[in-house]
């Protein structure tokens, strides 16, 4: 263990800055630009096993007191990227952009351009619209063309003893606690959930996916 401690101690020099980096997930919503901070991304088979579900969460560590005031920013586009041919370049995107209390979804659709800049694909033949759920209300769900849509505050599904991880990285501790404490318990995020038939995103085999936030 002594040897390990020394190795970890050396590691601190190289990774002391991880605090700042890690704070990206737990950025306070008041921080400028915080409304584009992605906290998490999930992709899993739906209750209907012919479907896949994408989840993007933004604005981490919202307290219940602050959740009612949290909003999606109309200048921030959330884009799910889908690579169907294993070159890590998006072949399809599903875009989510809020307007006037509703979340508009465009896609899956072939993007007019790949990479760091996007235009809203209003040419999409698939998509839908859902009323953004207000804090305290039952979830608004809409469906269109076999897809399902949700946008609004949710419990943060992420769980981790981030506080103890930080202590270890800082050299103040040499192990996790038993039991650990979930740093994200009791906090909320702003979620975008879209369920899509697998037939619209490649059908079978493996895809590569990632989520982006982009600002106008």
């Amino acid at each position: 263990m002594k040897n390990l401690k020394r190795v970890l101690g050396l590691g601190v020099v190289a990774i002391a800055s991880y605090f700042i980096v890690a704070a990206d997930h737990i950025d306070a919503p008041e921080v400028a630009g915080g409304n584009s901070d992605i906290t998490d991304f999930y992709a899993f088979q739906g209750e209907n096993t012919d479907n896949l579900v994408f989840v993007a969460n933004l604005q981490g560590l919202l307290s219940p007191a602050n959740t009612g005031a949290a909003t999606f920013n109309e200048n921030v586009l959330v884009e799910f990227n889908i690579d169907t041919d294993q070159d890590n370049v998006e072949d399809l995107v599903i875009q989510a952009i809020p307007r006037n209390g509703k979340m508009y979804f465009f896609g899956p659709v072939t993007p007019s351009q790949t990479g760091l800049n996007s235009n809203i694909q209003t040419n999409a033949t698939a998509g839908g619209i859902v009323d953004i759920t207000a804090y305290g209300d039952a979830a608004n769900i809409s469906t269109n063309g076999g897809m399902s849509f949700f946008a609004g505050p949710r419990d943060d599904p992420f769980f981790m003893d981030f506080a103890q991880y930080s202590e270890i990285i800082a050299g103040n501790a040499t192990s996790f606690n038993m039991p650990g404490a979930d740093t994200f318990a009791g906090s909320n995020v702003m979620s975008i959930v879209v369920e899509v038939p697998k037939s619209m995103i490649g059908g079978s085999g493996k895809i590569n996916t990632w989520v982006e936030s982009k600002r106008k």
């Binding site: 390990l4 020099v13 190289a14 800055s17 991880y18 700042i20 980096v21 990206d24 584009s36 992605i38 998490d40 991304f41 999930y42 992709a43 899993f44 088979q45 739906g46 896949l52 579900v53 989840v55 219940p64 959740t67 070159d87 890590n88 006037n100 508009y104 760091l116 800049n117 235009n119 209003t122 999409a124 033949t125 998509g127 804090y135 769900i141 399902s148 949700f150 419990d155 599904p157 981790m160 270890i168 040499t174 192990s175 996790f176 979930d182 318990a185 009791g186 369920e195 697998k198 995103i201 079978s204 493996k206 895809i207 590569n208 996916t209 990632w210 982006e212 936030s213 982009k214 600002r215």
Partner: protein, 184 residues
């Protein structure tokens, strides 16, 4: 034709939103503006990759490097950081996937989530064939990553660092859409 349907839907909704205003006879103000170019600020594939494997000086750059260019730009940095972080990879050590430090960081540096369209979708569920087939809400991704970082060839090395001992969310998930629990 579906194309037109969605555009019509957009226009219809916008008319519904605005038709009580004084501008409702001006079609231009009733059309929702989706124009413009949106430029990337953040991106994410697998959980905690940017958090754990990038130093702060590289974090912003990582977020605006397209995945197909990430390996060339970041793999060697990931390798240096992982060797500094974990003794499990010293002297040719490997993780439980049989990857040495170069192979593991080579996988992680391209920050995309690999997803199967053919069945089980999980980050890791103990079944080798299911590894990295998606990310389900209940997956204990942090413990999996800690095991791969610190746990060595058989998940037994550095036990105090290989599990944060938080194994589940504080609220139960739904089996139906939208799956995520209601807010606190």
């Amino acid at each position: 034709m579906k194309n037109i349907k969605i555009l019509t839907l957009v226009l219809t909704v916008s008319l519904m939103v605005f038709n009580c205003s004084n501008d409702d006879d001006n079609i231009k103000t009733t059309t929702i503006d989706f124009s413009g170019t949106y430029t990337q600020e953040d991106q994410m594939g697998r959980p905690a990759v940017n958090t754990v494997f990038n130093a702060s000086a590289d974090k912003d750059a990582f977020n605006v490097t397209i995945p197909s260019a990430q390996n060339a730009a970041f793999q060697s940095k990931f390798e240096t950081n992982l060797l500094a972080l974990s003794p499990a990879y010293a002297n040719g050590g490997m993780n439980a996937l049989g990857q040495d430090v170069a192979a593991f960081t080579g996988l992680l540096a391209t920050d995309v989530l690999n997803v199967s369209l053919d069945g089980t979708t999980t980050f890791f569920d103990g079944v080798a064939a299911n590894t990295l087939s998606g990310r389900a809400l209940a997956d204990d991704v942090i413990t999996v990553e800690l095991l791969l970082i610190f746990g060595g060839e058989d998940f037994t090395e550095n036990p105090g660092l290989s599990n944060d001992n938080v194994d589940a969310n504080d609220k139960a998930f739904f089996t139906s859409f939208p799956y995520l629990a209601s807010p606190h």
